[in-house]
């Protein structure tokens, strides 16, 4: 649905986006992750035809962003970082203007406006001045604006920034409800949000893509699984014995708490069973043995943190 190839954007000498390539399939929710200033917004601005690129190409729904911007714009709904609102308008008037702008025929307008008002829970504020709305409602009006013309592709730039926890949950629910009927690109620097909503992530750092993969494949990279073992009393040769087992790749003794070990091994049941048997045979008093999910947080910090450590 969305294809980005070697996209580069320079602001003067500063490279904001550096030869990035990725693609998004129809019906997928893609989390676009990165620190502030990593190039997320720039990429989105290029995809929505607001900005030109220095190099590379991008296409949305088969239309090239630079050759055929009008066709692309018709198919995209876009929520910029700051919701683009006119404070002097009522919510209903604002949405009517967007409907005009989006060329929605007069006879369909009411229906479409009603639909987004309901979908974004705007019923209560429909006849209120945008200037008087709270941040959360403004954000929702912004999302409603992006949805009004039933776009195939939805591009949301940090849609949950500044919302309170309840509103964040609602916004996530809203985005999740779009799954499968629309393709969504969604930028954020909040990790739990990605874990909660997205099918796939692209992590961008300093204009470069440092990782992109499906969310559920992380943690068990390369068929390796990590197991945490907690015992009552650690004995000295435990680490050696475990290292000697077949299928075990590495054993780390944790610094925090002497009675903890992390065992890296092949992800096979017989290996797991063997580890358990060994620990019990050592008479150390097994308290807990649990698989370690490589958390998104660790994964992300590994990628980003690796860089700052090098500096």
């Amino acid at each position: 649905m969305i294809e980005v190839r070697n996209l580069t954007k320079k602001y003067g000498d500063r490279v904001a986006v550096d030869h990035i390539s990725f693609s998004v399939n129809r019906g997928e929710i893609l989390g676009f992750l990165g620190q502030n200033g990593a190039g997320k917004t720039t990429t989105m601005k290029i995809l929505t035809c607001f900005m030109s690129a220095t190099e590379g190409s991008a296409s949305v729904a088969g239309f090239d962003v630079f050759e055929n911007p009008l066709e692309v714009k018709k198919r995209i709904g876009y929520l910029p970082e700051t919701p683009p609102l006119y404070p002097e308008f009522l919510v209903s008037e604002y949405l009517a203007f967007i409907a005009d702008l989006r060329n929605i025929p007069k006879r369909d307008q009411k229906k479409k406006i009603d639909a987004v008002v309901e979908r974004c829970y705007l019923g209560d504020v429909r006849n209120r001045l945008i200037a008087n709305l709270s941040k959360g409602y403004r954000q929702r009006v912004g999302i409603a604006q992006a949805l009004i013309h039933d776009p195939e592709v939805l591009i949301l730039d940090e849609p949950t920034v500044g919302l309170d926890p309840k509103q964040v949950t609602e916004a996530r629910g809203l985005i999740k409800s779009l799954r499968s009927e629309r393709t969504v690109i969604y930028s954020t620097h909040i990790l739990s949000e990605v874990a909660a909503t997205c099918d796939r992530i692209v992590i961008i750092d300093r204009g470069k893509i440092v990782a992109q993969e499906a969310l559920n494949s992380m943690g068990s990279a390369g068929g390796t699984t990590r197991t945490e073992i907690v015992v009552q009393k650690m004995n000295e040769n435990m680490v050696q014995v475990l290292k000697g087992l077949q299928g075990v790749k590495n054993v780390h003794s944790q610094a925090n708490g002497q009675n903890r070990l992390i065992v890296e091994s092949e992800a096979r049941e017989d290996v797991m069973a063997e580890i358990a048997r060994t620990v019990v045979n050592q008479n150390a008093g097994l308290i807990r043995m649990s698989p370690v999910q490589l958390a998104l947080e660790d994964y992300y910090l590994n990628l980003i943190g690796g860089r700052s450590a090098q500096q």
Binding site: T48, C49, P80, L85, Y86, E93, D100, L101
Partner: protein, 257 residues
């Protein structure tokens, strides 16, 4: 075309939702009222004197010409307040992104904004027909001349608004847009008299007449005298078209930075 309509509708709505439109129309009518009262006063006195055969050469038409010349000048003060928000406010509110990611062409946006300001100005021009009505009731004005004068006003207005739109597109502050538009329009008007004082020339290029030509009042005056000349129409139309073209370029350039 539907893009233009959407923009015009939105702009007009936002004009009337803020006090600006009302205040500006009010001030304009007040200023015009004062001038018209003065005009009536002068006209009455000369009429009275004429009856005793003392004064000559002051006719209703001549006074009407002064009235409309004043109006054309006063509109210079009004324009900046109407054009200041056109693009500056969109930039400040970051709504330009909305307009440019909608299926709307840059040209449609510029034309839409221009027409919306023009429509508001038309309201003022229409209200000023009151003075024509008074003249008809108590005098005998030359209607064709009034007609050409109004044509001249409409043309002059389009050139003011296009200049204001251009300046608004160059800043994100309404106040700065208003001040610069005002200065630019004032300079444009003054170029007429400045040009007349300059005898200096650069080879075949005579600076004085050039300045005078570029200034609107000379062109407007021939309309006010009842003349429709191709050169004046060309001046106003090309001025407007060129300003709108530049506006379009400037607005588009926001996306290339």
């Amino acid at each position: 075309m539907s893009g233009v309509r959407a923009i015009v509708k939105k702009e007009l709505r936002s004009y009337f939702y803020s006090p600006v439109a009302y205040v500006i129309i009010g001030l304009f009518l007040f200023a015009m009222g004062v001038i018209f009262a003065k005009f009536v006063d002068i006209y009455q006195r000369y009429n009275a004197m004429q009856r005793f055969g003392q004064a000559q050469g002051i006719t209703l038409d001549k006074l009407a010409m002064y009235l409309y010349q004043n109006m054309a000048f006063i509109l210079c003060f009004v324009t900046p307040f109407l054009t200041m928000k056109l693009f500056a406010e969109e930039k400040r509110q970051q709504t330009l992104e909305l307009l440019f990611t909608a299926p709307l062409k840059g040209g449609e946006l510029v034309i839409g904004k221009f027409l919306a300001s023009y429509a508001l100005m038309l309201i003022m021009v229409v209200i000023s027909f009151v003075y024509v009505l008074f003249m008809i009731l108590w005098g005998n004005p030359e209607m064709p001349i009034i007609g050409t004068t109004y044509l001249g006003l409409l043309l002059a207005l389009s050139c003011y608004i296009s200049l204001g739109a251009l300046i608004s597109a160059m800043t994100s502050s309404q106040a700065i847009a208003a001040i610069w538009t005002f200065i630019a329009l004032l300079m444009l008007w003054l170029m007429q008299s400045i040009g007349q004082g300059i005898t200096w020339s650069l080879g075949p290029l005579q600076l004085g007449p050039l300045l005078t030509y570029l200034s609107p009042p000379g062109h407007f005056n021939s309309f006010a005298e009842g003349l429709i000349q191709v050169k004046d129409v060309v001046y106003f139309v090309s001025f407007t078209a060129f300003m709108l073209f530049l506006t379009h370029r400037v607005v588009e350039s926001n996306r290339w930075r």
